[in-house]
């Protein structure tokens, strides 16, 4: 298959495509250290770490970071719980409605975010629930479940069921089997799924704008910043931070799940 060499044109298109994908990200990293405080002229005039200390002394930045971290943690925990249960239920047995359930799990990321966001907002309003941190978590957990589900079910399909039967035959109870057989097998898949769910929740903005009420998560803070040109250096620092928080988990998840037939994160957000 690799007997022939790629033509120069193909090589250029492929590597050029990679450069195109990474260039805007590099620009974010570059501008976070930019000395200028208003314009974003290119090339930058000089580099400084000053804006990091400015950004981290701003109460609104810290509050948004804290809120986003809390929401991402709780949403990830809920997603881990529900996603693991759903994958344990769906991976082996065939039963009536199985396809319907898996479709339902995928629906929150298959439908546009505006549909999910508006539906949740309308429901919260009808029930008289004030939008806030709780409603953001509910929305995030709903679309994070499928990420965990995809990772765990792929691992379960590779794990032999006879291991579980052998454990039970040897006298382990359900908890012991879960603790010593199932959990070690699922461990890295759960970690990978959890990391991706965390990254997805940390960055989500479309559903969040509908369910946030007056709360400002970090992405919403960023979006509000875009109409404030005076704050550009602080915005650049926070943008780089958000970029890192969302990019590093995919690296971790890749190394935790490689070698399997389906690698984490490839199924789209």
């Amino acid at each position: 298959m690799h007997s022939e060499k790629a033509s120069i044109g193909l090589k250029l298109a492929a590597w050029g495509g990679l450069v195109f994908l990474h260039f805007p990200i590099l620009i974010i990293f570059l501008y976070a250290f930019n000395t200028q405080d208003a314009a974003f002229s290119f090339p930058p005039q000089g580099f400084t770490l000053k804006w990091f200390s400015v950004a981290f002394s701003r109460a609104d930045v810290l509050e948004s970071i804290k809120l986003s971290l809390e929401i991402a943690c709780v949403a990830t925990l809920i997603a881990l719980f529900l996603g693991t249960l759903a994958s344990a239920a769906l991976y082996r047995r065939d039963f009536f409605g199985k396809d319907g359930i898996s479709l339902m799990l995928i629906l929150p990321i298959a439908l546009p975010g505006i549909v999910t966001g508006l539906a949740l907002l309308a429901a919260f309003k009808a029930l008289g629930i004030e939008p806030g941190m709780f409603t953001i978590i509910v929305g995030h957990a709903t679309f994070c479940v499928v990420i965990v589900y995809n990772n765990v079910i792929a691992r379960l399909r590779r794990t032999s069921h006879s291991l579980i039967e052998a454990s039970m035959d040897l006298g382990a109870d359900g908890w012991q089997t879960f603790r010593y057989i199932i959990l070690p097998n699922l461990g890295s898949a759960l970690l990978a799924g959890g990391m991706l769910a965390f990254a997805l929740s940390f960055d989500e903005i479309i559903v969040t704008t509908f369910t946030a009420g007056h709360e400002r998560t970090l992405p919403i803070w960023l979006l509000n910043q875009l109409s404030r040109p005076r704050d550009v250096p602080v915005t650049n620092v926070v943008a780089m931070l958000v970029m890192l928080v969302t990019m590093l988990p995919i690296l971790g998840a890749y190394y935790l799940t490689r070698g399997g037939e389906s690698v984490a994160g490839s199924g789209g957000k």
Binding site: T142, G171, G268
Partner: protein, 317 residues
């Protein structure tokens, strides 16, 4: 192991409650299954599907233009209003952008996916894989923000255009009716560019996966039968990668269709479906009209899915 030797399980005594519970679950697989399914079903059934149906129902409510209030009198007026020239214009603008973005993404993604699948192995393949996944997962809002910096007046894009001497070309493109504008950041061309950038990885990975599945023997057979490399590509490789392209286009199409952040940040004024929904429920407070509008992307995506299903997209997801 030592623990089991010193404390052998008491076989004769009554088993522990946990053990009995485990046995019960093993003998009653349906009970086990329903215990597993109840929490996710409750969450998704009550919270998610309930909300969706509630939203659809609200689409039939009446919005009084004078008092700016919603009354639960059922009407078809909201759905009929979708076909107003103004609303239809919004839908048309969004769909055309979604189609254009899907086509351009496929064109840009194909060489990358093709190179990845056919000419890389081991470490290089892993490198390409990560290099495509990282921008895909990198923060959406920051990527959009990066483009506002890139396309800004005096920004990076302008610097490159000037230094490469491409200014006449850019001016010519911006002068074209429909896609042009005074600058890149206020033109439909700029918005299109940003959409293609943001959704490109979602197109690369399915194409790469479909090319990866292509058996090398088919290509050898094609060559043995006398086809030139170009013929093999046009008549074997490309047709067999259609399912991957179709699968990728599901993402590019539906993600563009529902977006309201990029149209807000870059490009000319004029609503997209997403921004229309957002404005209707927020500034105007017309939840019934917003609810009716959400039906548009749902129906369009359903139609799109039924089309690409015939191209084999679902086998390539």
């Amino acid at each position: 192991m030592i623990q089991t030797l010193t404390q052998p399980p008491a076989l004769s005594a009554t088993p522990s409650p946990l053990r009995r519970f485990a046995n019960l679950l093993y003998r009653r697989p349906n009970l086990y299954l329903s215990l597993l399914l109840i929490p996710p079903l409750l969450w998704f059934g009550a919270i998610y599907l309930g909300s969706l149906l509630g939203l659809l129902w609200q689409g039939f409510y009446t919005f009084d233009d004078f008092s700016m209030t919603v009354t639960p009198d059922l009407t078809m007026a909201n759905f009929a209003a979708l076909f107003n020239p103004a609303n239809f214009d919004v839908i048309q603008r969004t769909v055309l952008m979604a189609i254009a973005v899907s086509i351009a993404s496929a064109v840009v993604a194909f060489p990358i996916a093709y190179y990845m699948a056919r000419y890389t192995t081991g470490k290089t393949k892993a490198f390409f894989y990560i290099a495509v996944m990282m921008p895909m997962w990198a923060s959406y809002i920051v990527k959009a923000y990066a483009w506002t910096l890139l396309l800004a007046k005096g920004g990076v894009a302008q610097w490159f255009v000037q230094h490469l001497g491409l200014e006449p070309l850019l001016q010519w493109l911006l002068g074209m009716p429909g896609i042009g504008g005074s600058t890149l950041s206020t033109s439909a061309l700029g918005r299109f560019l940003v959409f293609v950038y943001i959704w490109l990885p979602f197109m690369i990975l399915p194409i790469q996966a479909s090319l990866e599945r292509l058996p090398p023997s088919l290509l050898q057979a094609s060559a043995d039968l006398g086809a030139k490399p170009r013929q093999t590509f046009m008549q074997v490789t490309l047709p067999l990668s259609i399912p991957g392209i179709a699968a990728g286009s599901i993402f590019t199409f539906s993600l563009t269709l529902g977006d309201f952040i990029v149209p807000q940040l870059i490009g000319p004024p004029g609503y997209f479906i997403g921004s229309m929904v957002y404005a209707q429920q927020g500034a105007i407070g017309n939840m019934p009209m917003a609810a009716a509008f959400t039906l548009v992307p749902i129906v369009l995506i359903a139609i799109y899915l039924s089309i690409v299903k015939r191209l084999g997209a679902f086998d390539a997801l």
